[in-house]
Symmetry: C2
Subunit: 318 residues, 2 copies
C-alpha cells in the first residue's frame, strides 16, 4: 500500500576519508523514498528551492516515486548540509547547515499523499510531524524518526508526536537521552509503557539504530537484534539511517495482508539493514540509484547465514 | 580437554550507578576460570600476595578449578584495581592500580598446567604471554586477549604474541588501533593475513568484543555476529570480557572431537555471550558463583530465538 514520506530534500556536501562530493542530492525524504521504492509506491512531501532541478527529481522519478508533492518555493534555496567524517566514520562534524526553504516549511499534502495508508515522518520539527500525522488519521502504520536537537529544544512536542505513531526509529544514544534510562532495553520499555493522551494507539515498536553495530527491535513481547552487514569499506554513512527506515517501512507497506507480526517486523529489519549497507558503500544516493532487487535478495540470504547458530545441547557442569 | 589460563588474580574496588563494592575477588584469570569451569577442567596460573585468603581460593575450588598454580608471594600484595563507571556504564575511569605481586611476575606452570591442550593467555605483558605459549607448544587451541596499553608500549611484542596463537579476542576499538584500519572487517582481514615468522599456525579466528552491542567472529571464510543478551539492568561490567572469553574457550575445549568448524565457533560465541550476560547482572563474581548450568542452557535458547529471522522471498521492484 502506498507510502507517504514527509521530510527534507537537500543538497549535501560531504567529505570522508575516501573523498568528497559537492552538493549531492540528499535529505531524509530522498534517501527514505529511494529505499522504500523497492517495495511499494512512495509519495514524497517536502520543499525545494529554485536551485533544485529536474535532474534531481528525475533520480526519484526513475524509481517510480511520486514527486507531485515536492513543493518548489519561488526565490527560495534548497536545504543545504555540509559535513565531514573522521577516519573511522564514527564521528561527524557539521560544518554548515542552511535551512533555506525548510525555514517556515508547511507540509502540503496532495490527494495521493493523503490516500496513503503508511506514513513515515522523517526527522523534522515534531509539531510539523503531528500536523501531518493528523491529516492521515486512519493510516495503518506510522513511523517516526527524530534527533537529539528536538529532544533538547522541543521535548514535550516530540513526546506527543511519538505517542501518535506506531513505530519509533531512533539512534540508541537518543533513546537513552529521551528517556534518561541508562540502557537500550530499559529506555525502550519506558516508551512502550507511555499511555497516549490522545485516541492514538501509542508506539508498539521501537527500533534502535546502532550505526556500525546494526540495529535492535523491541516490542512489548520481544527483543530482536541484527548486526550491520559487514563491509570492508564504508565510503559515506550520510543517509544510512533514512535508507534503513525506507527498507523497514517499505517492507511493512508491501505486506498489507499480514498483521504486524514479530516475523514480519524481523524480515523488515533485515531488509532495512541490507538497504543501509548498500547506501554507505558509495557517496550519497550513488549506489542505491543503480541498485537492483536481486542484489537485495542475495544480501538478505547472506545476512541470514551470518546470524544463525545451531543450539546443540551440551551437558554443563554445575 | 583441560584448559590452562594465565593472567591476573585481583582485588577490585568498583563503583557503579547501582552501588559499590570494596576489594571483591576479581582479575582476568578468575573471571575466565569461573566461566570456563562450566565446560571443562581449568587450571589457573597467576600470583597473589599474602593478603589473598583461602576464602577467595575456595570460590574457585567450589567450581572444581585447579588452583595449585596460584603462586603466593611472601611479603607481597595482591594486584588491586579501583574503578568507577559512568551512568550508562559505557565509560569507566581507573582510579587506582597497584600492581603488587604482578610486578616481576614470572609464570610457573605446574605439571597439570603444562598438560592442558587448550590455553588462554589473558591480558598480561605480551612477552610473558609468549613465554607461556612456548611451554605448551602442542596445544590444540590457544587464545589471547590484550589491551590498548600493550598496543601503545609493546606493539612489536604483541604482534609476535598474536602470531603464535589461534584466536585473538580484542575490543573492536583495539582491533582498529592495532591495525590502523578504520573498520572491524578490514582490521580483522589484516590480522588474518599476517604470516607468522615462527613455526606457529598464525591466527585463524578473530573475535571482536563490542560491549553492549555484542560480539563478532571473523575467520578467513566467514563473518558472524551476535548481539549482547538484552538486560534491563547492567550492574557491573567488570570482568565481562574475561567471562566472555571463558565461555568461548571453555566451549571449544569441551568439544575436542570436533574440528574448529564455523558451527562450533558460533555455538562457542553464543555460550560466551550468555556467560557474560550473567556476569554483568551483579557485582564482581557474585552472579557467576551461584550460576547453574540449566540457566545457561535456557538463555542460549532465548538468544537463539532473538537472532532468527525467516527469509520469506519477496518480488522487489527494480
Amino acid at each position: 500500500m502506498p507510502i507517504t514520506v514527509v521530510g527534507s530534500i537537500a543538497y549535501d556536501t560531504v567529505k570522508t576519508p575516501f573523498g568528497e562530493r559537492q552538493r549531492m542530492l540528499g535529505g531524509a525524504a530522498v534517501h527514505f523514498a529511494l529505499a522504500a521504492s523497492f517495495f511499494d509506491d512512495v509519495c514524497v512531501v517536502g520543499p525545494v528551492g529554485e536551485d533544485f532541478g529536474e535532474q534531481q527529481l528525475d533520480v526519484m522519478r526513475r524509481r517510480g516515486i511520486d514527486v507531485d508533492a515536492v513543493e518548489r518555493i519561488d526565490g527560495g534555496r534548497t536545504f543545504f548540509w555540509q559535513g565531514e567524517y573522521g577516519w573511522d566514520l564514527n564521528t561527524r562534524e557539521t560544518i554548515d547547515t542552511q535551512l533555506g526553504v525548510f525555514e517556515g516549511f508547511q507540509p502540503k499534502l496532495t490527494p495521493a499523499a493523503l490516500a496513503s495508508d503508511v506514513l513515515f515522518l522523517a526527522n523534522i520539527q515534531p509539531d510539523l510531524q503531528r500536523e501531518v500525522r493528523a491529516q492521515l488519521p486512519d493510516a495503518r502504520f506510522v513511523a517516526l524518526d527524530s534527533m537529539n536537537l528536538w529532544i533538547d529544544i522541543a521535548r514535550e512536542s516530540l513526546i506527543a508526536a511519538i505517542e501518535e505513531v506506531d513505530c519509533l526509529i531512533l539512534n540508541d544514544a537518543e533513546l537513552r537521552q529521551l528517556t534518561g534510562k541508562p540502557n537500550l532495553v530499559s529506555a525502550a520499555r519506558e516508551i512502550l509503557a507511555w499511555e497516549p493522551a490522545s485516541s492514538y494507539r501509542g508506539p508498539s515498536v521501537i527500533v534502535a539504530k546502532q550505526g556500525e553495530y546494526g540495529a535492535a527491535l523491541i516490542t512489548r513481547e520481544s527483543f530482536f537484534a541484527l548486526p550491520a552487514y559487514p563491509l570492508e569499506t564504508v565510503v559515506d554513512p550520510t543517509g544510512a539511517g533514512d535508507t534503513f527506515a525506507g527498507g523497514l517501512v517499505g517492507y511493512i507497506a508491501a505486506h498489507p495482508e499480514e498483521q504486524l507480526s514479530e516475523q514480519l517486523l524481523r524480515r523488515a529489519m533485515a531488509h532495512a539493514t541490507v538497504l543501509a549497507s548498500f547506501n554507505v558503500a558509495e557517496f550519497g544516493t550513488e549506489r542505491i540509484e543503480r541498485l537492483e532487487g536481486r542484489e537485495i535478495v542475495a544480501r538478505i540470504a547472506e545476512l541470514q547465514a551470518m546470524t544463525q547458530f545451531s543450539g546443540a545441547p551440551l551437558a554443563l557442569r554445575g
